[in-house]
Symmetry: C2
Subunit: 335 residues, 2 copies
């Protein structure tokens, strides 16, 4: 049977409170007593009942993950899962555990905030590209520390790739290769990242005084291969299309390239394509994708550190933004 603090106390012939204080390094205990108790507790591999402790202290070492699955991709989404993986590693190595914040627990419906209240969760990492959940606002406005990625909210700390710079870097890259006409396959406007990438694209085009052909700014409705393919077909219909294309993401870029290939247009010989992400698979695509790499390791780590700070030191600023630099990975989809 599992030992309680009372067992320890009895076996050592001391008071339960003494045991508690000894194990928690609380004051009011002699060094000798503390060591005796610690040694014994170690020997019998005593572990405190977390529920009892949390009931009293209202503290918990849990960090919530709000992982929206609106698109049905969830953990299979490579970009998010790799951020989450790094996040998880960091917080776990700091003694926290992660819990998915869900909206039905033990057959009762509850909001994200209520879930956190119930579990004494003081900090959450919001990982979603679709900020349309009604529960989200309630959570953000509460006293729960929140960090997010890929979306902005007022009063919320965001860790995100420098997407504007991503757009700029893509244009710069093409410009330096001598291209003067550059097309853009954009993402849906509900995606912040997509909007910013387009913004960066436009900014840098203007900087270089390059004309933007609006018919060559084509919007892909989702981040999918299929919508990339469609955008490729649409692109080919444009008269005298550009020879350089900046695509909002690698996944879309792959579909886009496939459409070109299926229509006899060669990449990179006829058209150069650059994507964004650097998914594990991007380097194995044919052609291997030139892309603007998102640093998922750094995003996950930064988010984790920030969140733990916010939870530890109440005074840490609860809003703001950290932009994670991106870099170009040149491969074979560009000349």
């Amino acid at each position: 049977m599992k030992k309680t603090i009372y067992d320890i106390a009895e076996e050592l012939e001391v008071a339960p409170s003494t045991v508690s204080k000894a194990l928690n390094d609380a004051p009011g205990i002699s060094k000798k007593m503390r060591e005796r108790i610690k040694k014994y507790a170690d020997k019998v591999r005593y572990f405190p009942n977390a529920n009892a402790a949390k009931l009293k202290t209202k503290k918990s070492f849990s960090i919530g993950i709000v992982y929206s699955e609106n698109l049905g991709i969830g953990l299979e989404h490579n970009f998010f899962s790799s951020i989450l993986q790094k996040f998880k590693e960091y917080v776990e190595s700091n003694g926290y555990e992660i819990t998915f914040v869900i909206s039905n627990l033990g057959n009762r419906k509850l909001s994200y905030y209520e879930f956190c209240q119930q579990k004494n969760i003081k900090g959450v990492f919001i990982v979603t590209s679709v900020p349309d959940n009604p529960y989200l606002k309630e959570l953000i406005d509460s006293d729960v520390a929140c960090v997010t990625t890929d979306i902005y909210f007022d009063n919320l700390y965001t860790v995100i790739s420098d997407n504007i710079n991503a757009g700029q870097k893509a244009v710069k890259f093409f410009y330096e290769k001598g291209f003067r006409h550059i097309a853009h396959i954009a993402g849906h406007h509900y995606s912040l990242a997509a909007r910013e990438r387009q913004e960066g694209f436009r900014k840098q085009m203007n900087e270089y005084n390059l004309p933007i052909r609006e018919n060559e700014v084509i919007q892909a409705n989702t981040y999918s291969f299929e919508d990339g393919y469609k955008s490729g077909e649409l692109f080919l219909k444009q008269p005298n299309y550009s020879k350089a294309v900046f695509v909002v993401s690698d996944q879309v870029a792959m579909g886009f390239i496939k459409a070109l290939q299926d229509n006899g247009v060669k990449v990179p010989e006829d058209v150069s394509v650059i994507g964004v992400d650097d998914l594990p698979f991007s380097k194995h695509y044919c052609p291997a994708l030139t892309t603007i790499q998102q640093d998922t390791t750094k995003i996950g780590l930064t988010a984790a550190k920030k969140l733990i700070d916010m939870m530890k030191y109440k005074e840490a600023n609860k809003k703001g933004i950290t932009k994670i630099p991106v870099k170009i990975i040149e491969r074979d989809s560009t000349i």
Copy 2:
């Protein structure tokens, strides 16, 4: 401030125990009283403190995930993460939540079993391909219900693809296309799935009385693209190599194919290749991969159902195996 059961009791001028009984549908309460209390609790959005409840009842709606990250891939591993995703969806829709079982919590080292003890976790899903963790055995031998995938243990319930059949299906597929020489890129022997796929391969070859050229059973050390590439180079060195190759996984198959392509050997014109998995990217590879699809949805769901059963009904058999059927997806890497 969050309401407690005492607040409710006071406001309704009844005893706390009465409130508890009413909300839990426990006997000994009149219908009228029960409804009055429930209605009021609903109105003020009362939610019980989970820690207090768990402290007393020792029940929890947590399911542990032992997610081994020895290879540093963790959640980014597509096959596992997609199983996990389905598992998660199912258990969550049944009112459970998932918790990652970790070995340091709040700065204390503890074994998987101790973690579960502490958190009152009664069931875990073990997702790992490398069963070398010393903590694992302790957990499996304990009273915690365990379900796993992709590894076998005595006294443990396993949900796994029918890998032997996968090997057989691959050989059959080639045989029916007229191939009589079939090579196999095998996985490392520590992987159960890899061993079984090879077993199926050999079994079916024997069935057809086809000779197995042992020099064409090449072992890839890991499931990586890179090792696939290496095995491709090695394969090409074999004199008069076969025109049909069954590769242990899609990832390895992609590397394998790349090696052939880089050496001027065309797939499928010169060599037909079939993999196993059907990763999200497999259909986008060039050539699109013919593969034996693992049904991750069914694996995840089956594991979830089984585990919940085991937790609910103690008598449910704790060991056994469910083999999930696989099916061939024919694409462009085979003639």
